[in-house]
Symmetry: C2
Subunit: 217 residues, 2 copies
């Protein structure tokens, strides 16, 4: 299998959704290679119809959308450790998908977008600035203003995550599952795109991320 993912100037892998798929493939024990792309090269993959990563070439089929890829991996490899673990686990993963969007990606994107721009391949910089400034409604450098003052509210919003992880080692319970990878990928993305340390400095969340890094690379 080959996973196409977006990489920056120094080969940093910039997509949280690709991190989800890499953790999912590792969870299933599947070997894979990664193929780094610039954002502006995505349309060169396959038949040219793809507009986003991840794109997984399974050797005959092209799979897209990280959540769908995880479900297809469970369906294709039912004898390997499950990513979703039944109806309740699927529901929890879906909730965490929305929660991560709402409570991690949305409040932090403006804080790190200018840093992320600085780490792109040169060819991507005009596209990224134009599209993300359109999304944010302000220049990247304005979006990050006052970011240190926004950290306490961001950390406060993480309370349900910290509370759960204070009582059990992984979101999935004794071991990680796809819900863990969804949330952890957002933190991995933040660490890759910016030197601003957005993590709570102590407590259950950094301890959980260290456990995941130890298990899944």
């Amino acid at each position: 299998m080959i996973l196409y993912e977006v990489a920056g100037a120094d080969d940093r892998r910039l997509s949280p959704y690709c991190w989800r798929v890499k953790w999912a493939l590792a969870h299933k024990g599947l070997a894979f290679e990664t193929a780094p792309l610039a954002y502006t090269q995505i349309a060169t993959v396959g038949d040219g119809s793809f507009t986003r990563v991840p794109i997984l070439d399974t050797g005959g089929e092209w799979w897209i959308e990280s959540f769908d890829i995880a479900r297809r991996l469970d369906a294709a490899y039912p004898d390997r450790p499950s990513l979703m673990r039944g109806e309740s686990g699927l529901s929890f993963a879906r909730f965490l998908d929305g929660w991560t969007e709402s409570m991690i990606h949305n409040p932090t994107f403006g804080m790190v977008a200018a840093d992320m721009w600085g780490r792109l391949q040169e060819v991507d910089k005009p596209y990224f600035r134009r599209s993300r400034e359109s999304f944010l409604g302000v220049p990247l450098e304005v979006a990050e203003e006052g970011r240190a003052e926004r950290l306490p509210a961001f950390h406060e919003g993480l309370a349900p995550l910290a509370t759960l992880l204070a009582g059990q080692p992984f979101l999935g319970g004794d071991g990680p599952d796809y819900g863990d990878y969804i949330v952890a990928s957002a933190f991995r993305w933040l660490a890759v795109v910016s030197d601003l340390n957005l993590l709570p400095s102590a407590g259950p969340i950094p301890a959980w991320l260290a456990r995941l890094a130890g298990r899944c690379g």
Copy 2:
């Protein structure tokens, strides 16, 4: 079984945690009666050691703490429909417990506390005002100021709930489980203690609450 719960002047049942237990007992198909109390009568139950509701008299044992009661019901009645449904469901319910605290109870308590005070039994009013004003740090009437202006941020925080319920009928999937009851009990509590309509006026959340009311009373 007898469930002791807090009731207001007009017998309104005022504890979201007791709603959780009532839905849990109904889910298990267990018959029960409720015994209404004033807050200041809780210490008259059992051996006088209890300080909070719910208190469930199972006919020989006293069970407390809503989440623990739900787990004990699953353990005692394993052949009846499960509330937690395995490790993933238990993890999801724990996460929703913290999320409900953080995203429903915390932002709304100040908005409705004065209304709730007005619906208490007279005997409870001094205790409630004293303890809740200590918790809130301001008089109840100050805590509710500007509440209409706080509703949009509250609704925005509900996005992960609305997103999940746009794609499936219950948080548990095709049918409700304890996670549904945790979150729905917070909305039921808000509807009981205040005439302020805090619900989003349309969309998946009110539709889900209507489905739950139809199934579980």
